[in-house]
């Protein structure tokens, strides 16, 4: 077979990016209630591109070609529907279609259209899992199968979520607009949370790692940047969120060994950390705190991540500052998971009594079971109770399905004996 990585003269992910851009743009033209029609139209455009470029070669400007063909298809569709007796389509087309299609395809309008689409997909009345599936499909141009593999779900489940979300948009007449006034803050918070969860889905360490998961992180960052760069949506929270994503993403290359196994923070080769991303993170965290200081959980999470990024070695980590960040984070967003992280920090600070005391207060069912038992094992070890440590590690082992996490725990068990 031929080399599968050779994508000819096309930029990586070109089609995926163009899909999101074209769907957002054409939905403004045809109306969000025709999202399914728009997606089919873009899909047809791509199929046509594949068909006509494959035996020749792509045009000099492939994106322009795609846009032109899609535009023509949209205009044809309107002409055809207008002559049809399809009243439903006719009536609903009179509104958005009055916007000139040429204007919508101008470069300056694209981020605006995409932002509108992000707001629609992250509508607070949709469940978070539906928001994420729809965003990845419609804004980011992922296929159902790709979304399923990134979210470790079945393709059928993803298809159902997307269909349900599309129906919701249609039956509730959700407008493709940037909210204003009181609505803006509420809707923006919903977008931030969805992007935060989207990034975490891609980054989650307990799952097997795959290139598609990294793509999800990059995509979450791209969408977050759209919110930061738009004058209406620019907000300390999305700047802090972008900073947080940058700090985490800077460690991509150091998180896995050559076998694809996870490497924990204390063992990572910090020279592999992406200093450029760390600087972008710092810059945005600075902007995010300039007016109101550390005003959201994203700010504190970013601050914690910034501390790790600043430490040249694991031993240089300033755990005292990190502990106070966790306390502030807990005050804004109380969760057992955050308290568990505080225990980890207390152990690093060798404050065994406080660590044990806080650990005993934590409700086990409210946090990640593997981490809970692993931390329990650390406390037992620090207290010199090897038997209990082994017991806890075995529970931690049982609580996860991830081969790389299991491997790490097994190593710890082996080291005990």
């Amino acid at each position: 077979m031929t080399n599968e990585n050779n994508t000819g003269q096309l930029v990586d992910h070109l089609f995926r990016y163009e899909y999101g851009k074209m769907v957002a743009t054409l939905s403004r033209f045809l109306g969000l209630s025709h999202l399914d029609v728009v997606e089919d139209l873009v899909q047809e455009t791509f199929a046509q591109a594949l068909q006509s470029w494959k035996t020749t070669k792509p045009p000099d400007n492939p994106a322009a070609w795609l846009n032109t063909v899609a535009k023509r298809k949209a205009i044809d569709l309107i002409r055809k529907k207008k002559s049809d007796k399809n009243r439903e389509f006719q009536v609903s087309l009179t509104g958005p279609a009055t916007i000139q299609i040429e204007e919508l395809f101008m470069d300056a309008e694209i981020p605006d259209s995409q932002l509108r689409m992000i707001f629609a997909c992250c509508h607070p009345d949709l469940s978070q899992s539906d928001q994420i599936a729809l965003t990845l499909k419609v804004v980011s141009g992922f296929g159902s199968k790709e979304i399923a593999s990134a979210l470790l779900t079945k393709t059928e489940t993803i298809k159902k979520r997307i269909q349900r979300a599309r129906n919701f948009l249609k039956s509730n007449n959700i407008a493709l607009s940037i909210p204003s006034g009181n609505q803006l803050i509420k809707r923006l918070a919903s977008v931030h949370l969805a992007l935060y969860l989207l990034f975490n889905e891609g980054y989650a360490s307990s799952h097997h790692v795959d290139h598609i998961r990294r793509d999800v992180c990059v995509e979450a960052m791209r969408l977050c940047r759209i919110t930061v760069e738009h004058p209406v949506t620019r907000h300390p929270d999305n700047m802090a969120l972008l900073a947080l994503m940058c700090f985490h993403a800077s460690r991509f290359d150091s998180r896995l060994n050559e076998n694809g196994d996870m490497i924990l923070l204390d063992r990572q080769d910090r020279s592999l950390w992406d200093s450029q991303l760390i600087n972008i993170g710092r810059y945005h965290l600075h902007l995010a705190t300039r007016q109101n200081g550390f005003s959201s959980p994203y700010h504190w999470e970013a601050a914690i991540s910034a501390q790790h990024a600043a430490a040249k070695t694991f031993n240089d980590t300033n755990w005292t500052v990190i502990l106070s960040c966790y306390k502030n984070l807990y005050a804004l967003k109380p969760s057992e998971q955050i308290r568990l992280n505080q225990v980890i920090v207390l152990l690093q600070l060798k404050d065994l009594d406080k660590a044990r005391h806080l650990y005993d207060c934590i409700e086990q069912g409210q946090c990640d079971a593997t981490l809970y038992h692993s931390v329990g094992a650390e406390i037992a070890m620090a207290s010199g109770n090897t038997r209990q440590a082994a017991q806890q590690l075995r529970r931690a082992y049982e609580a996860t399905n991830s081969p790389s996490t299991r491997k790490l725990i097994q190593q710890k068990i082996d080291n005990l004996s």
Partner: protein
């Protein structure tokens, strides 16, 4: 003595294949790679893709109807005319056809030469 062979590609329309944007791009990459390989070997005489729709003219009265002509699976999507030693060599080339994954078929036929 090299002869001309036509490779005819049969399959369903890509828009029915349910490919994601990324898959379409990957598929295109395979086609570019195959095309590039054949052109490097200097064996391509020409190649073209065909629109999925057209006109169908048949019978004594030359009745005209609209395509698509046959149900999905056997739609002719395009062709290459290539140079090869013999039919076996041409078949060898056709084995790199990228659309087998999507249920596509290649028909290899020698171009007739009248002297």
């Amino acid at each position: 003595m090299m002869k001309d062979f036509m490779m005819i590609f049969l399959g369903k329309d890509y828009s029915d294949a349910g490919l994601s944007p990324e898959e379409i791009q990957a598929q295109m990459g395979k086609w570019f790679a195959w095309d590039g390989k054949m052109r490097e070997q200097g064996i391509v005489v020409h190649g073209n893709a065909l629109h999925p729709t057209g006109k169908h003219i048949t019978g004594n009265d030359a009745v005209i109807s609209d395509g698509p002509f046959v149900e999905g699976k056997e739609l002719i999507g395009g062709y290459y005319v290539i140079k090869a030693e013999n039919i076996d060599a041409a078949v060898e080339i056709a084995k790199d056809y990228p659309d087998f994954d999507y249920g596509g078929t290649v028909e290899v036929r020698e171009v007739m030469v009248f002297e």
